[in-house]
């Protein structure tokens, strides 16, 4: 990023907004760079490269919040756009019942760069293609023991560089490389088919591919799909214990803990789109789970997909203990919701590009590890189902009624993992799920995911994860 020009434009935007009457102004100059390659059934698809550079300007004027963005980085345009943000904010105050306020400013000056061993900019087309060809080579032509007539594989390398300044005196520069894989595999055995969507990714350079064992993981996934097609039997219909794998623990933590504890949902700001929350502003301290239910969100995990050392309001982030010993412990905040609820912001405000306003987002949301080994945890189960991976999932917009349909799942009998089960369904309320947590293993894993929220939509990179989590006394649903 041309740092001097970026800095000039950011400072110009803040100055012009203040001149136009903003009581607060911030500008985020953001440059994005991306390289993507795809294989469809082994055939190379056109490669896709992207570059973006623009400024997002957020202001408070007349008590209302305005946001404007442009990718025309001429000084005259940036100044005009800053003025428009102020003008529109003032115009909107006719529908404003309560002025927008931010929590107390904590001006910081910081420059950060996520660690990378091999620069992400080295990801040229031949490197991307080479990795995907290796993946496809392991699973094409029945090599993984199953026919996969539908194989769509994407690999991307991306870089986000940001410069943030605000009228409180904060100045933050960040460099954020990522490598991400997405694949959809469709397996066929006779007339039966199963499908798996796989996302893997981390913050870092090209070393990510080896660090996450990408090639081996996809091969293992393909082999599992074949076994599911050939071997899976009918799931039990009586009451069972359920063991959630790290993948299932993670999606449950994300959907039914992370989302309802986003303070903007709690306060109604996302009501028309992503919805509100079953929790209210006074729900802190409420018992929602068993004493063994512990869920956190931590943006400081190095290499993580949701690594965010400083958020997009210039607030240094920290780990958030969302559910602690079964009790609602903390919400995710931006500076507005923190002020409204009388707490300090915890750095959860993120924007995915220069033309999106920062909103409250999860980073890496997970069930905390426990003190059982995986084997010890399985031994606890007399009659149960081990949910290892999932396909279909969804949840209502208050985050009370969720469903996870397994792809890979095993019966557990008398502490032993038995045969595969065909698509068992966990359809359960949030209090029942977290109230049923009996034990957690020490073994932690994370999955990459893209979290959807916002209007216009913002798909934010996150991790979901956790240990094996044991739920007791569950009746499974049905398709």
């Amino acid at each position: 990023m041309g740092t001097e020009q970026a800095k000039d434009m950011a400072e110009l935007a803040v100055a012009k907004a203040r001149e136009a009457g903003a009581s607060y102004a911030e500008a985020r100059v953001q440059k994005t760079w991306g390289r993507q390659f795809a294989l469809k059934n082994g055939e190379p698809q056109p490669s896709f490269f992207s570059e973006g550079y623009g400024v997002g300007i957020r202001v408070i004027a007349g008590g209302a919040l305005g946001f404007a963005a442009t990718n025309d980085m001429k000084g005259s345009t940036v100044a005009d756009v800053a003025g428009r943000a102020v003008k529109l904010a003032k115009a909107s105050s006719q529908v404003l019942l309560k002025p927008v306020e931010l929590d107390a400013p904590r001006a910081i000056k910081k420059k950060w760069a996520a660690p990378e061993t091999q620069k992400v900019e080295d990801a040229d087309a031949s490197w991307l293609r080479g990795v995907l060809m290796e993946v496809d080579g392991r699973i094409a032509d029945g090599k993984a023991g199953v026919k996969l007539p539908g194989r769509l594989l994407f690999l991307s390398a991306s870089l986000e560089e940001k410069l943030f300044v605000n009228s409180d005196g904060t100045n933050v520069e960040g460099r954020h490389p990522r490598v991400n894989f997405f694949g959809s595999l469709t397996a066929l055995e006779g007339s039966e088919t199963v499908q798996r969507f796989i996302q893997q990714g981390e913050t870092g350079g090209l070393e990510v591919v080896k660090r996450i064992r990408l090639v081996e993981k996809i091969e293992e996934e393909a082999k599992t799909m074949g076994k599911v097609l050939r071997e899976a039997g009918k799931p039990p219909t009586d009451v069972v214990d359920v063991v959630l794998s790290p993948e299932l623990s993670g999606i449950a933590a994300h959907e039914s803990v992370g989302h309802p504890q986003e303070a903007d949902r709690v306060l109604g700001r996302e009501g028309a789109q992503a919805g509100e929350s079953y929790l209210k502003a006074d729900s802190l301290g409420m018992k929602i789970g068993s004493d063994a239910a512990n869920v956190s969100d931590d943006p400081t995990l190095e290499h993580s997909n949701g690594f965010t050392p400083v958020d997009d309001e210039g607030v240094e982030s920290r780990k958030r203990r969302l559910i602690k010993d079964g009790v609602i412990n903390e919400f995710l905040h931006n500076r507005m919701t923190a002020r409204q609820l009388g707490v300090s912001g915890n750095g959860a405000s993120r924007a995915v590009s220069f033309d999106r306003e920062p909103i409250i987002r999860m980073s890496n949301t997970f069930v905390e590890p426990g003190d059982y080994s995986t084997e010890e945890l399985i031994k606890e189960v007399k009659h149960g189902v081990f949910f290892k991976s999932f396909t279909e999932w969804n949840i209502d917009d208050k985050r009370l009624n969720q469903r996870y349909v397994a792809l890979e799942a095993n019966l557990i009998e008398k502490g032993e993992v038995r045969g595969l089960l065909k698509a068992p369904v966990l359809e359960i309320t949030t209090p029942k799920l977290w109230g049923s947590v009996k034990a957690r293993s020490k073994h932690m894993e994370f999955e990459a995911a893209t979290c959807g929220k916002g209007d216009p939509s913002q798909g934010a990179p996150v991790w979901t994860g956790g240990p094996e989590t044991l739920l007791s006394g569950i009746r499974l649903g049905a398709r």
Partner: protein, 446 residues
Amino acid sequence: MRETELQEVNEVAVKAAQSLGVDDAVAMTARGSSRMIRFANNSVTTINYLDETELTVYLAKDKKRTIASTSDMGAESVKKFVKDLFDTAKGLSPSEYVPLPTKATKHAPSPLGYDKRLEDAGEELPALAKRAISASTSAGAKRAAGVIDAGTVEYAILASNGTSGTDRRSSIELNIRSFAEKDASGHGLSCSSSLAGLDPEEAGTRAGHDAKRMEEASEPEAGKYSVLLSPTVASNLIEIVGSAASAFSVEAGLSYLTDKVGGKVASESFSLTDHGVVDGGLGGRVFDDEGVRTGSTAIVEKGTLKGYLHNLTTAKKWKTESTGNAGLVTPHPWNLEVSRGDSSYDEMVGEMKKGIVLTSNWYTRFKNYRTGEFSTVPRDGAYLVEDGKVVRPLKGMRAGDDLLRMLSSVRLMSSEREWIQWWEVDTPTLCPWVLVDGMTITRAYG
């Protein structure tokens, strides 16, 4: 930046590509300008102004194909961007390649779907939001959240085969969600390509009315029901039929319509057509990303799958012609139209013995796109119907089916249709109320 300026950017890009000896080049520049107001708890939460221009370039050389986008429109920057892209493409291996048509096409912009008043709509938005909130409150809601998004987009395309053209669209959308006691909620939408077409009072009233009615909602018994899908709910599901009709989806194993061309995929009364540009439509263009003229493509006609949506590459593979639905990689629909039926809403409710009316939904997810098995989560107004009469409001349920069975079980459709586009429906869809028999309703344990 107006259309002529956009085309100047394209000329720089295509000339630069030709000087490098490419086999094909397509440059498309788009400028979007939008204003959005969002509100919650009857109060504005933010107002946004976005003004962005983006150049997308496609190059093909020796069957190596690459696509790139940039926001830097300066002539020297564009030349460097094209040169860098060309150099990068050298590292690629040949991919599926079909040359651009040898004959150039000149595309004139369509007069449909553009309202000049939406170029600068911004300061009017708060007043429109206020009208929607007032209507919601008058209908019984305590509070409302919503968004009004107004904007225009201009396109210019230039290809190395001489094809060129410009086009432009405008749209304004209101999405309002109202809340009453006990977190009961209702949903209203209004979408139009013109400012005058927006009806904030109707959307606000609908949302407020449903919110009030939902205050005493309770859970239904799990089981099979006839389900009356509102245009909002039906569009969310039918949009996925549009995606499944993309030849790319079929090739990638992501379509339940695989191997079904010429076969029955829906009830006799159901037809689905895609339009590049259509009166009342909120999106689309007269040309696709390869410069091919868009038109109207029958996807399903009287229940029979007529064919897939194609770009030049997929069309060659399937031994047919492009339908003008490129996507340089993935063909996709522009504006979907579902055929109208001949029933009224009241007649359809009257025809249900044991049924559920759904007005809104979200979070549709698939177990398997190849089989079309999905579930979706109803929200806002939902009502139990017994023996042709609405008997009580419902909440806390999930609806599941597979798309082939669902559309083959369409019993009735309404004569009235609505254009739908909102947070859960990307592709503008003109859709009636749709009555489906035998959908599965489930409830959560606990």
